[in-house]
């Protein structure tokens, strides 16, 4: 086994996964299937970023598995030349948990959407996060149901006019990253479909994380919810609303870095002009803080649905025991204590009698 060119495959999180013999390229991960998303869909950019990133890990591609649920995003596994399963609506984290906890030699990735992960599959998502199974979950959030043709989703803004809500939706939306942190997630990040460089950096951090990583990817549905993240993409305004989080760095943004994130009232965070409050008042991002308070407060910054003050990057990345490793440790402990299983002795038990 050789290390990959840049050593990403050397992440401790990937230690048990066999490494590729030769350097890989994007082409190695493209399947022969025709991609069937709508022209202009944000999924294309995410797929390209993932296909471009996977060679960096240097893993044998037969040891990489992509599992998805149902929805536009969930067609993803068909387009990657790895092992894959396009399962049923909402259940991918559960299926992936069974695979990841029985095969430590696999790199298991889940692709899901806002409906798949947060509506029908909400239960599986939160439990995967709290267990900290070695899974990387990419949640494509376009704030709409695409494959069923345009109903509001659990991340749609209240009042949204859709086919199922002609007078506006009544639902209060989920903030996916707040949910994840509330569910004890050990790794929480956000990126944007159109920013390949940033998305790649977040994928790299997720791959390096030991345990469950949740990456929310803002993804444009140009058919049913076009422009949902326009403020974050428009060159004229994106720098004033996008807050790029970097561990250990002051949280500053704006074209000139003129804004900073400061402590507000009641544990909330505020945005201020650095010139007015002074550099010392600007918070330094700490993704590794065990206490989730700062990470959570960052998820609550600004108005989610109008994309004001939107942090992207790694919110939280802490070390916590990984479920599958713990399970393997128990298996090993049992084997040591009880010795190898002997079927005849098991079924015999302690209380038998003989008849001649």
């Amino acid at each position: 086994m050789s290390e990959s060119a840049n050593g990403a495959g050397g992440f401790p999180s990937l230690a048990l996964i066999p490494k590729a013999d030769a350097k890989q390229s994007m082409k190695d991960f493209k399947s022969d299937q025709e991609v069937r998303w709508c022209p202009g869909c944000g999924d294309y950019a995410i797929l390209a970023a993932v296909q471009g990133f996977l060679p960096e890990l240097g893993l044998r591609k037969e040891n990489v598995v992509w599992i998805s649920g149902i929805g536009c995003s969930s067609r993803f596994p068909y387009y990657l030349n790895t092992y894959g399963m396009h399962s049923i609506h909402g259940r991918a984290p559960a299926i992936a948990t069974g695979l990841a906890t029985s095969r430590e030699d696999l790199s298991v990735w889940v692709v899901t959407g806002d409906g798949d992960a947060l509506s029908i599959g909400g239960n599986h998502l939160i439990h995967a996060l709290r267990r900290n199974v070695n899974l990387k979950i990419l949640l494509f959030n376009n704030r709409i149901y695409g494959l069923t043709k345009g109903q509001y989703s659990p991340t749609s803004e209240t009042g949204k006019i859709t086919k199922s809500t002609p007078m506006g939706s009544l639902d209060h939306p989920f903030n996916p990253l707040s949910v994840a942190i509330g569910a004890e997630a050990s790794f929480v990040a956000r990126s944007i479909d159109s920013d390949r460089k940033h998305l790649t950096s977040v994928l790299r951090a997720a791959a390096a994380h030991e345990g469950t990583a949740l990456v929310e990817i803002y993804q444009n549905c140009n058919i049913f919810n076009d422009g949902a993240f326009e403020q974050l993409k428009d060159p004229a305004q994106r720098d004033d609303v996008t807050i790029r989080l970097e561990h250990g760095q002051p949280i500053r943004f704006g074209a000139e870095g003129q804004y900073g994130v400061i402590r507000g009232a009641h544990g909330a965070l505020d945005v201020a002009e650095v010139a007015k409050v002074g550099e010392d008042a600007v918070l330094v991002h700490d993704a590794h803080a065990d206490n989730p308070e700062l990470a959570f407060a960052l998820t609550r910054l600004g108005d989610l649905t109008s994309n004001t003050h939107t942090p992207i990057g790694v919110f939280r990345d802490i070390a916590r025991p990984v479920y599958d490793r713990l399970m393997s440790a128990q298996m090993a402990e049992a084997a040591t204590k009880q010795g190898p299983g002997d079927l005849a002795s098991l079924i015999r038990g302690n209380d038998t009698w003989s008849i001649d």
Partner: protein, 620 residues
């Protein structure tokens, strides 16, 4: 005083008390003593769903029935010949099941006016003559127990709680049971509380001694050991046998077992048991819900494990969509359904056979799933191995339909030699299986074995066989997404043909037609085997002619099923549902099968079935 000893060929005892009185433990211990002694036996625990129902009430009564004999027996007995009633509620709840002349042992300490009024006894049944038809032994079990434990430094409450061991000691004396194992058991169970352990042992011995000295019991009884086929035996419940069957299947297939499960009565014991056997490479995963339980099992199967999920009827309803996915993915998966009374929450702790049609048809689309059903508690072992064999060989989800009676009931089990168990090993795909016109090779995940129609099982980690599968219809062979009409028609028919083809690979339906000229066939499935076989014996003992057949495989049916059914003028189908097997037999074979049904949460009584069979014989 030398007491008279009488020989009996069989006895049915029912221990009954409050849910907190330890009746299940008492029954288990008496069963264990009886098994060690060498009688054949069959047990029927019956308890409420509530952990501690209100004390002294009818819904709170918990009971344990044990039938033991000097010959082979098939059921826990229609009616107890001895009832141990620890309180008025236990007496009231069980008296209607007793034949006249039965023995009743009551704990008089609990027969206060208030306790009797609580269950609607206006006057004491011990004094008002209402029990004159029975042989009543009125014994102050609590007082005697507390008295026997006067020297122990334990609370009065702890002393009173040992009354079940006093009763067990008395019954052990009455039926000449061996006692050493119970003494050992008590010392093990209360190893951390030696005073409590010794108090229980003392109560148990006091009960024995009471029997020997009291004038109340002039006679004790012996039931000689049964002459069963030679071999090594143990007593076993259905859930334990099923658990061992799953462990064995993993060993015989040389695959890790992965159980994804969510706790549900009466299946949880299987999860508890498998969790103890990690040294066999068995992984257990208690999931967040039923859906995740089967999802994780299916994920593990995709990775090359023997995926198993255990549940009961309501859980199967939740798992249906994933079972459909498994049908589409064509991966091995075991779905163990320990059936209970339904619909909805139904009767969680009571037995029923009403999930047959759910197992058969409870999915969207044409989604055939093989079904295997054990017929006795110990048979759960072999049935689990057989279900795993089909799942692995044919790459299909398989239902294993146990039920609450099998799960908790017990019987002696003649241990199989592990060398006699079937080899369940299957080969994973390792090489591309399709050669293209240009000489290149590729892997086609849906290119089937022409014999079994099973597709290759290519597990992640195998180089060159990377492939994507899913719930969308796939093109025959190559396995890509396909919406082609002719392809869908072919795939639906092929999946059905694969399951139908299993009929060639299972034992033919065996018919027990002792004289060879019976005109009436009685056919069942699952746990009704014992009561039906006992009923058939009764009918034959009186000269009646009846044939019996019992289905282990319900999908597909054995290849000779039609021939068997058409060989008889009348076909009776007793079921603990409203005629689910009968519907399948009528629909599949155009036979005028007669249903006989009960859904009382309890196994059939063999005398009732014998009566039905006699009536049909007379009508032919």
């Amino acid at each position: 005083m030398t007491k008279q000893v009488k020989q009996l060929d069989r006895v049915v005892i029912r221990f009954a008390g409050d849910s907190g009185d330890g009746m299940q433990l008492t029954g288990d211990r008496f069963t264990s003593e009886t098994a060690t002694f060498g009688n054949d036996l069959s047990t029927l625990p019956n308890f409420p769903a509530e952990i501690r129902a209100p004390a002294g009430t009818l819904p709170g009564v918990s009971s344990f029935q044990l039938h033991f004999a000097d010959h082979d027996i098939l059921t826990p007995g229609d009616a107890p010949t001895v009832l141990v009633a620890m309180n008025p509620a236990a007496l009231k709840a069980n008296i209607r099941d007793l034949p006249r002349g039965a023995e009743i042992i009551v704990n008089t300490d609990e027969f206060s006016k208030r306790a009797m009024a609580k269950v609607g006894y206006p006057t004491s049944p011990l004094e008002d003559g209402s029990l004159d038809a029975y042989n009543v032994h009125a014994i102050p079990l609590t007082t005697l127990t507390v008295g026997a434990l006067a020297e122990f430094e334990i609370s009065k409450k702890d002393a009173e709680r040992a009354k079940n061991m006093f009763a067990l000691g008395l019954l052990s004396w009455l039926y000449h049971r061996p006692t050493e194992a119970t003494v050992d058991f008590l010392r093990r169970k209360f190893a951390k509380l030696p005073v409590i352990a010794e108090a229980n042992v003392a109560a148990f011995k006091a009960g024995w001694n009471f029997g020997e000295t009291t004038d109340d019991f002039a006679v004790s009884y012996e039931v000689a050991p049964a002459k069963l086929p030679s071999g090594t035996y143990r007593n076993i419940t259905g859930n334990l046998a099923l658990s061992y069957g799953l462990v064995a299947a993993g060993q015989l297939a040389d695959l890790p077992v992965y159980l994804g499960s969510y706790p549900i009565t009466p299946a949880s014991d299987i999860l508890h048991e498998l969790a103890k056997h990690k040294n066999f490479g068995v992984r257990t995963f208690q999931a967040e819900d039923e859906i995740a339980g089967i999802g994780a099992a299916l994920g593990a199967s995709f990775g090359g494990a023997l995926g198993v999920t255990t549940t009961s009827g309501p859980g199967v309803a939740l798992k249906s969509e994933t079972i459909g996915l498994a049908v589409s993915l064509e991966l091995p998966l075991l779905i163990v359904d320990v059936q209970r009374g339904g619909p909805s929450t139904g009767l969680p702790t009571k037995t029923e056979q009403s999930d047959l049609l759910q197992a058969m048809f409870g999915r969207n689309g044409e989604a055939p799933v093989p079904i295997v059903a054990p017929q006795t508690p110990s048979d759960c072992f072999a049935a689990a191995v057989e279900a795993a064999r089909i799942a692995l060989k044919y790459r299909t989800p398989v239902f294993l339909l146990s039920d609450g009676y099998l799960a908790n009931g017990s019987e002696p089990w003649r241990l199989p030699e592990t060398s006699e168990l079937p080899d369940l090993r299957v080969a994973f795909a390792t090489e591309p299986n399709q050669e293209n016109a240009d000489g290149t090779k590729e892997f086609w995940p849906y290119k089937r074995d022409p014999e079994t129609l099973a597709r290759p099982w290519a597990v992640p980690g195998t180089p060159g066989l990377e492939h994507r599968i899913g719930g969308i219809e796939k093109a025959d062979g190559i396995g890509s997404i396909s919406y082609d009409p002719a392809n869908h028609d072919l795939m639906v028919r092929t999946r059905q043909a694969k399951v139908d083809g299993i009929a060639k690979d299972i034992d033919p339906l065996w018919v027990d037609d002792a004289t060879g000229d019976a005109k009436v066939l009685v056919i069942g499935w699952g746990s009704t085997y014992g009561p039906i076989a006992a009923a058939v014996r009764r009918v034959r003992a009186a000269g009646g002619k009846v044939a019996q057949a019992h289905l282990r495989h319900l999908n597909p049916f054995p290849a000779n099923t039609a021939e068997v059914l058409r060989s008889y003028d009348k076909v009776i189908v007793p079921e603990m549902n409203l005629g689910q097997l009968a519907l399948l037999l009528r629909g599949r074979f155009l036979v005028d099968a007669m249903s006989y049904n009960q859904v009382r949460g309890l196994p059939f009584k063999s005398e009732e079935l014998a009566h039905v069979i006699r009536e049909v014989i007379e009508s032919v």
